[in-house]
């Protein structure tokens, strides 16, 4: 039975010419888990917001949206609020109150439930999500993963029939994200909750979802089981790059038929179809520039006098012209390390040298003039002006000299851009200081696979121009593809550091999907091209093709 039915839905933002959504029709059955994918700015968030009339954007709507047979427009605001739950894109912005318990109670308070009922539901929800240990805490003191869990719990207290989630794991490390998605799976399987989920993590969600929706420029391209979507659309490169590693590998190898979905099926496919006489690729030699661009020696840092050390004896050398990727769990201190490297925090012991010169010998901000630049984790901190044009002019950036094109965005307000576009504009401002050492903190968060590939090209160009780059990221695929060396950050120090092939083939969890999929078959395939070249070298089993 259909819970949500959408018929010929079109939408145009007030004051815009082109529609953000065009002629979208589909329906979601009760108990289904549906994943929505699509490039940045294709209208995913817009579509989701239209389902909830109280937060629908302003503009012109045509078509119909039915919830359980009644048009959502004729639902009372109250009913719509209670029956549809919505978890928003940014965990921090969704939190309303200052205490965890109050946040949990908020929805029930608003709907005017009696106190006893509120108490019961809050208690139940806190137990289910294991929130009890931090029930009395301030919401501000929670970690990113906890915040997102709280948001989910706070939405579920009102017992909605349909749950909408907009990129809920964009800021989480791979392990926390997998945990969160597993919680969603449990909710769907155990409680039969219907959910529609926007996600850029194909590996985790595709194997568990019932159906997959693909959008492109405001139109719905497909809605079907993941397998069938891949059969029909898998050959288009811009869609293929957002698919799980197993599917990408399958298509790149030029196979025909039904692609394997997820790590397990991928392994089975490889085992069955390809030989593994050649198990490993030769280790790529690691060569580096002569000069050390950044060196941290036994650096210790803490935020509060009486607090715990966030950086403990961190030692790191980055050579000129290399790209280094830092990976690690939420709260392990990556951002802190980057800020110390950029001279924004002073370590209480240890030394930091930039291009051989001690940091404190750079006087009067000369460190930031054509030397070091930091792209912060939160790019909102970068924007000062009311249009992108002024923003670039303020930084002295020449739009023509940028490695990418921003002309179509010049007149927009920085806050009206989509996530990926914001990232690019911020990067343009940072590049305008023409740094020799670029420190970038999670430059690809919230980007779709296509935009990521674009960014990889930009970093490669920078490297060719002799810029040293340190990137903090949660994205293992990006790191494996791009970096000269990768490092794992753990409890305020570097736990391991080596070339990507060695690094990712040794890790079990902090590694790429390809590496997990080929583990035990090949020894050191970490990127898709590694796997492809190994498969080609080995050839098909039994000489079938």
């Amino acid at each position: 039975m259909a819970l949500l039915t959408v018929e010929n839905l079109s939408f145009t933002y007030a004051g815009e010419e082109t529609p953000a959504l065009q002629d979208v029709s589909f329906s979601i059955r009760r108990g289904e888990m549906v994943v929505l994918c699509g490039a940045t700015g294709c209208g995913k968030s817009t579509l989701m917001r239209l389902f909830k009339r109280e937060i629908s954007p302003m503009g012109e709507v045509s078509g119909e949206i039915l919830l359980g047979g009644t048009p959502t427009a004729s639902l009372s605001v109250r009913e719509s609020a209670a029956r549809i739950g919505y978890v928003m894109q940014h965990p921090e912005e969704q939190i309303v109150t200052d205490k965890v318990w109050h946040e949990l109670a908020f929805g029930l308070e608003s709907l005017g439930y009696p106190r006893d009922a509120i108490r019961r539901r809050v208690a139940e929800m806190a137990s289910y999500f294991d929130i009890e240990p931090w029930f009395d805490k301030d919401t501000a003191s929670l970690s990113g993963g906890q915040k997102q869990l709280l948001n989910l719990a706070a939405v579920l207290v009102t017992d909605p029939e349909l749950l909408l989630l907009d990129e809920p794991t964009a800021q989480l490390d791979p392990i926390a994200a997998a945990d969160f998605i597993d919680t969603l799976r449990r909710l769907n399987r155990e409680l039969g909750l219907t959910m529609l989920l926007i996600e850029h993590r194909p590996e985790e969600v595709m194997p568990i979802c019932d159906r997959l929706m693909i959008m492109e420029e405001g139109r719905l391209l497909a809605i079907d089981t993941p397998r069938r979507v891949m059969e029909t659309l898998g050959t288009r490169p811009e869609i293929l790059c957002g698919m799980p590693a197993s599917v990408r590998l399958f298509h790149t190898l030029g196979e025909n038929g039904t692609p394997p979905l997820g790590i397990r099926e991928g392994r089975e496919f490889l085992k069955a179809s390809y030989a593994n006489d050649v198990r490993a690729l030769p280790h790529e030699p690691y060569t580096h520039g002569e000069r050390v661009a950044l060196s941290m020696k036994n650096v210790c840092f803490r935020y509060e006098k009486t607090g715990a050390d966030v950086l403990r004896d961190t030692t790191l050398e980055v050579f000129e012209g290399e790209i280094l990727c830092l990976l690690g769990a939420n709260g392990s201190g990556k951002t802190t390390a980057l800020s110390v490297a950029a001279g924004l925090f002073k370590p209480y012991s240890g030394t930091v040298r930039v291009f051989g010169k001690k940091q404190k010998d750079y006087r009067d901000g000369s460190l930031y003039r054509s030397c070091v630049a930091l792209l912060p984790q939160n790019v909102q901190t970068v924007f000062l002006k009311s249009t992108v044009r002024e923003e670039l002019a303020d930084a002295g950036a020449d739009p023509a000299a940028l490695p990418y094109d921003l002309t179509h965005l010049m007149a927009r307000h920085p806050y009206d851009l989509s996530g990926g576009e914001r990232q690019l504009v911020a990067l343009a401002k940072v590049l305008a200081t023409s740094p020799r050492l670029l420190l970038a903190d999670e430059p690809t968060k919230g980007l779709d696979a296509n935009a990521k590939r674009h960014l990889i090209e930009i970093f490669r160009t920078l490297k060719q121009n002799g810029v040293t780059v340190v990137i903090v990221t949660h994205d293992t695929e990006l790191a494996a593809e791009l970096c000269d060396r990768a490092a794992l950050f753990f409890r305020g120090g570097i736990a391991s550091i080596s070339t990507p092939r060695a690094f990712f083939s040794e890790n079990r969890f902090y590694t790429t999907a390809v590496s997990r999929m080929t583990r035990g078959i090949y020894d050191n395939a970490v990127t898709q091209s590694d796997a492809v070249s190994l498969c080609r070298q080995n050839g098909r089993r039994g000489g079938a093709s």
Binding site: M58, S386, H413, D416
Partner: protein, 227 residues
């Protein structure tokens, strides 16, 4: 909270409270010499705040507006932590000018309440709430001319710095001597002169520099999200 649904009665009450504090100060001087004055003045100040807020609960305030006012309150509390420049009044005045009288009053009054969680609550809290609230409220009433001319706005800023100081001096005189006496009040006014000047000057500086960008931001938000 007391519910007064008649809008006219509400505005009448507000005008009444506007006159209340000065008239109590004057009347008290003649009638109430000495004891009882402290209680009376604290009560009057609290009542004025309550009267201003009454009816607030009943009216439909969009949640966006509500949140925006909370944001402005928080920003103005932050202003109190600024060293030297203390743009509390300035932020409240800007709120009054761009988001309306009531928003202004709420911002002024609640930033006093909240910042006193950090600086210490006491019987002076209602006075501060009233002083900041009323100054922002009046700015809201004068929104048209103040939006148009930066000079006028700065002038209003200077004036509100002085007025704030004068109102708070009533309080310190009353509390320091258990009653209102003119010589002590004047002495307080004189000793508080450096503060008064600082308030006025920092208001002017802040309004001169920030009123326009602040106004642009608020106008953009109002237009884009239909607040």
């Amino acid at each position: 909270m007391i519910v007064i649904q008649n809008a006219r009665l509400r505005s009448f009450l507000r005008i009444l409270t506007l006159l209340l504090i000065p008239s109590v100060a004057v009347l008290g001087y003649f009638l109430l010499r000495g004891t009882g004055y402290v209680v009376t003045s604290v009560t009057v100040a609290s009542l004025s705040v309550v009267l201003f807020l009454c009816g607030f609960d009943r009216r439909k305030t969009g949640s966006r507006r509500l949140v925006l006012v909370s944001v402005m309150i928080a920003l103005s509390v932050l202003g109190r932590f600024f060293p030297l420049l203390k743009p509390v009044t300035a932020v409240a005045v800007i709120t009054g000018v761009y988001l309306g009288m009531e928003a202004g009053f709420l911002t002024g009054a609640f930033s006093a309440l909240i910042s006193n969680f950090y600086y210490g609550q006491g019987p002076w809290t209602p006075f501060q709430m009233f002083a900041w609230g009323i100054l922002a409220f009046l700015a809201g009433a004068l929104a048209r001319p103040l939006q148009k001319s930066r000079t006028l706005l700065c002038l209003y800023g200077a004036l509100s710095g002085i007025l704030y100081s004068l109102i708070m001096d009533i309080w310190s005189a009353v509390f320091a001597s258990g009653g209102f006496s003119l010589p002590i009040y004047l002495a307080k006014v004189v000793t508080a002169l450096p503060h008064t000047v600082l308030y006025a000057v920092s208001n002017v500086i802040f309004l001169f520099l920030m009123a326009k960008p602040f106004g642009e931001k608020l106008t953009r938000i109002k237009r884009k999200y239909g607040v």
